[in-house]
């Protein structure tokens, strides 16, 4: 696959993730407004879900793409997954109780991970010397990262402002 369609695929995946969470968040917010309950809880959960889903997707894709096609395509794949959610993140933060510092920090960490994870894939490629083996190892490592992110999700719950 050429680089341009790959960017598109990653950006479309990022958009699909953001859209799914936006639909869920706006739907639950509408229900909360209709029932006169607090809509900030839905926003906090949406913010947490956006973070968790992107961490998982990033871990699974970036290491693999880094091992398969190098650092720059890995970085592009990670950015394509992270960036489309930013407008939804801003809206959910505006509606929620989470502190701006923690939300900004989470985004910075995601960007840092999108820079670092392809390097891990690249290092695997250079270490193992075989592309196929590096791709499989990168995918497995990415899955391990994603699984640990899911398992430890309670540890990085963002505090309220």
């Amino acid at each position: 696959m050429s680089e341009a369609p790959a960017y598109r695929l990653d950006a479309m995946t990022g958009l699909a993730l953001a859209a799914a969470i936006a639909v869920w968040w706006l739907g639950s917010t509408r229900l909360a407004l209709d029932h006169g309950s607090d809509a900030s809880r839905c926003a906090d959960e949406a913010l947490q879900a956006l973070l968790l889903v992107r961490v998982t997707a990033l871990a699974m894709v970036s290491v693999r793409v880094g091992a398969l096609r190098g650092w720059r395509p890995g970085l592009a794949a990670g950015m394509g997954l992270i960036a489309p959610s930013w407008p939804v993140v801003v809206l959910a933060w505006s509606a929620g109780t989470r502190s701006a510092t923690y939300v900004a920090l989470a985004e910075v960490l995601l960007l840092a991970a999108s820079v670092a994870l392809p390097l891990v894939g690249l290092a695997l490629h250079r270490l193992l010397q075989k592309k196929d083996l590096a791709v499989i190892s990168g995918t497995l490592l990415g899955l391990a990262f994603a699984a640990s992110a899911w398992a430890a999700r309670g540890l990085w719950l963002m505090p309220s402002a």
Partner: protein, 485 residues
């Protein structure tokens, strides 16, 4: 030799500067002799003075609410103001002036679990009422803000205490009477009786007149046993106002537009910077949009009176939909009385206008989709009188028995809603009881729920022309109940 005048001048300036530091005296006492009930509103009476002219900022903090007053203090003049505040065990009153050390007084407020009986008798006679906590009062213990009457559940006042009340105290007492507060007046003067009877709400059932203390206690006991006050709690905003979905619709459109634009960008541009720039620009645009056009507030006024009564009590809700996250400062509607936060858990700061004795601005934190509601309550003069006569053929004859005409409205009788024509004084109309409609909307449900099954009521939509800065989305209603004949 020539240095001496300079040194003398400097010394004098230093002395003057030392003298110029103002000394602020601050005193604070709570209404009702320091008693209230949990989750009610009480009042703090504050006296502030300074020995030189200075500006001072006074903060009164109780519960999650702060009332701030900016004052110009003149030497030798005591500024006295009464600030309504949410019931809390401790209320902190602090005064800060640019050149003086800050002053702070803590006012202890006792919260009674039992209903409170206020007893304003100059004789000091003890009164015990089963289940009530009695608080002995002198005239100065009675509040100047009608809202503070929520601290007590019944009140006995004798003629001397009533005569010692100032104009603001009397006005607050009148509003309390209009809001169906349970009051027994002991040997009140005829003019005072007339004024209070004229303004009493709930058909005057909660305002009683006695000639002796024993008589007053008996009246109070029988009033409590019969629970003759129809209702004191007005309906909530949830029943009357539909949820505000303007903000939600706006956000939905913005999100849909963003995703549409982002998909087009992903389809037509293969460059990574463009794919990154699109969400970044959209984020900035959304942030700007959130701060650009805050939606206007919504006002709902619900008022009730008994047919022929001279005053109606009202409750109003002003809802502020949030858009951007941060602080919001809103003007308090000056024609409506007793502004407060509807949610006692909502931290709020009021800027109090000492000249008018009421809050001028409210400040609170808000966020997207959050709806902060200010509550108002009070009474206003009204002149609507209806007489209903049931005819043998099952029809109702409705007559305007008042001295002025009324506009078209609806009549609620027998659990059904009928059209009520505009009628001039003395005019009448015939209503077919079988032609009523079982209305299902929230307004009619609320009105029907507040109408006695064996009685009837008329409902009119009110014009809010007298209120300045009225929000574009405003509705007001007046429900006049007609007791069963």
């Amino acid at each position: 030799m020539s240095r001496w005048p300079w040194l003398l001048g400097l010394a004098l300036c230093g002395t003057t500067a030392a003298i110029a530091q103002p000394r602020i005296d601050l005193e604070a006492t709570a209404a009702w002799n320091g008693w209230t009930r949990p989750s009610r509103v009480t009042e703090v009476d504050i006296r502030l003075s300074s020995d030189i002219a200075t500006r001072a900022t006074l903060d009164v903090a109780g519960g999650r609410q702060v009332v701030r007053v900016n004052l110009d203090l003149e030497p030798g003049r005591v500024v006295r103001l009464q600030v309504p505040i949410e019931s809390a065990e401790g209320v902190a009153v602090s005064a800060v002036s640019p050149a003086a050390p800050p002053q702070r007084r803590d006012v202890r407020i006792a919260q009674s679990e039992s209903p409170v009986l206020g007893l304003g008798l100059v004789t000091g006679d003890p009164v015990q009422l089963d289940g009530f906590h009695t608080v002995a009062l002198d005239a100065d213990n009675l509040p100047r803000n009608a809202l503070a009457y929520s601290s007590i559940d019944a009140l006995i006042l004798d003629e001397s205490t009533l005569g010692a009340l100032d104009q603001r105290q009397l006005r607050a007492l009148l509003v309390h009477a209009a809001e169906c507060g349970r009051i027994v007046l002991l040997n009140a003067d005829l003019p005072v009786r007339r004024v209070l009877d004229g303004s009493a709400g709930c058909g005057g059932r909660a305002l009683m007149h006695a000639t002796s203390l024993a008589d007053a206690i008996d009246m109070l006991k029988s009033s409590l046993a019969a629970n003759r006050v129809v209702s004191t709690a007005l309906p909530g905003i949830g029943e009357l106002a539909s949820p505000d979905l303007v903000t939600w619709n706006r956000v939905l459109i913005v999100v849909a537009a963003y995703f549409a634009a982002a998909i087009l960008a992903a389809l037509f541009f293969s460059s990574l910077p463009v794919l990154l720039l699109a969400p970044a620009l959209a984020t900035v645009a959304i942030l700007a949009l959130l701060h650009a056009a805050p939606p206007s507030s919504q006002l709902v006024v619900w008022s009730e009176a008994t047919s022929g009564a001279e005053s109606a009590r009202y409750q109003a809700w002003q809802r502020f939909p949030g858009l951007a996250r941060g602080g919001m400062r809103v003007p308090v509607l000056q024609q409506l009385a007793s502004a407060r936060s509807c949610d006692p858990n909502q931290p709020m700061r009021f800027d109090f206008d000492a000249g008018h004795g009421q809050a001028a601005f409210a400040e609170f934190d808000t966020r997207l989709f959050r709806q902060v509601v200010l509550c108002y309550s009070g009474s206003f003069p009204v002149a609507r009188a209806l007489a209903i006569e049931a005819r043998p053929d099952g029809m109702l004859q409705v007559r305007n028995s008042g001295s002025i005409g009324w506009p078209g409205g609806v009549l609620l009788a027998g659990g059904l809603v009928h059209e009520l024509q505009a009628l001039g004084p003395g005019d009448d109309m015939i209503v077919d009881t079988r032609s009523g409609k079982p209305f299902r909307d929230a307004l009619m449900r609320t009105a029907l729920a507040r109408t006695r099954k064996d009685g009837a009521a008329a409902l009119w939509e009110l014009e809010l022309g007298g209120i300045t800065d009225i929000p574009p989305q405003s509705n007001a209603w007046l429900l006049v109940s007609i007791p069963p004949s």
